[in-house]
Symmetry: C2
Subunit: 245 residues, 2 copies
């Protein structure tokens, strides 16, 4: 399994992906599922994935090869983020179609999904979710975040605490707590978690951190959160005597 | 879909079930999925369900008929909660097997799951989860709550705030928040929600409430919780400058 999420805010973006992959509970590995692209001062992109690791890695490799070999169309040459999302979708579709044809298996075993976020100079920052079918949707002010994979455990904290106006630091903290909730609940989502934060219009390759089990700041956030929740629960208004009938 | 949960605590038990059923988003109905049984001063039980509504209703009906028609074996005559759980499992298995045979469909369309909690005089309170196969497991001090149906959105709040020592009132509040998180996230889980609370050894038919959209107390709990979360998020320790690399 995988949990990854990305948030597009008024002032910036936050991205996070776990690194655990599993084929059964007795076959667990660590693989990076978040990659950064870009040209300092001109563009940056973050690509995240969930689904078939073979498909996802093939897509990452082909996209990187296109950059390295200076193909006419690559993530460093596309004119818009939308064109980048289309490129990811097409690349994924061709990888998946090949795997399905070779294995004669259309059940979905070989499908992946992606999130692509970033900014190209002179254009607004954008965030896309790219479906296994290769088509995509764009994050908006109404729906500022996307999640892939094991999304449910970590969604309530984002629903309750993140909107388009939230500042980057607090959105990053909320996303840490969202990962903590997910990692506690599902063994197939695990540390380390790759985080990236971006301030709009900086157009520098964004900062990030690989957060592991020994990360003191992450740990302090999660502990303070748990304590505050317990305290809040104790302080909630008492039930009126007549409430239970 | 359905969300239901039950918690067995040192001092009592809390049960809650939503009432929404759906066959597609354009076919939504309200059905009770939590029933109380018992004999004042001697025993009480709460039975909750998720899964095929036809199977669940047939099981509720057969169990109630057995009580009304004074069958030798019924929920008011079983010697232990475990025997009650076995009875529910066997009843469900026979209903499911019949439906599967008639429809020639073993895909799981007709399966249900149940939670059975309660207390019989002279015995400790117990809580069972009964699987679609008819077998069951019992809640323990280590694992004091069970959930059925759409369980993921509402699990982190229970994980973080409920353990065997939690008092009944706070566990009920945590369960309200767990339902609020789930209802916000999944359209197929909906109000009203049937709540029941029980104080151990009271052996009275327990108190309860059907909580709907206009419930002022439920609403105040959820609002205070959301406010506290937002406040807590703002107060979390700031990230050190060197954190993002």
């Amino acid at each position: 399994m995988t949990y990854c999420a990305a948030i597009r805010l008024k002032d910036g973006m936050v991205f996070a992906s776990d690194t655990r992959t599993n084929a059964g509970v007795d076959h667990i590995s660590t693989f990076r599922k978040l990659y950064r692209y870009g040209i300092e001062g001109e563009r940056f992109m973050v690509l995240q994935t969930a689904g078939s690791l073979a498909t996802s890695q093939a897509v990452f490799t082909k996209l990187q090869n296109a950059i390295d070999q200076r193909h006419e169309n690559n993530l460093n040459s596309v004119l818009t983020l939308f064109d980048g999302a289309q490129m990811v979708g097409e690349c994924m579709r061709s990888v998946t179609a090949h795997a399905q044809a070779v294995a004669n298996d259309n059940s979905g075993t070989f499908t992946s999904s992606f999130l692509l976020g970033g900014q190209i100079k002179g254009q607004p920052p954008e965030l896309y979710m790219i479906y296994p079918e290769g088509n995509c949707i764009k994050a908006t002010k109404d729906t500022p975040f996307f999640q892939l994979g094991e999304i449910k455990y970590g969604k309530p904290i984002l629903d309750r605490s993140v909107n388009y106006e939230t500042d980057v630091e607090h959105a990053a903290q909320a996303l840490m707590l969202s990962f903590d909730s997910t990692i506690r609940a599902n063994l197939s989502v695990g540390m380390p978690v790759d985080f990236v934060i971006y301030q709009n219009d900086s157009l520098t390759l964004p900062k990030g951190r690989r957060i592991d089990e020994k990360d003191e700041y992450f740990d302090s956030i999660c502990q303070k959160w748990s304590e505050a929740l317990r305290h809040t629960l104790i302080e909630l208004p008492q039930c009126p005597d007549s409430y239970w009938e």
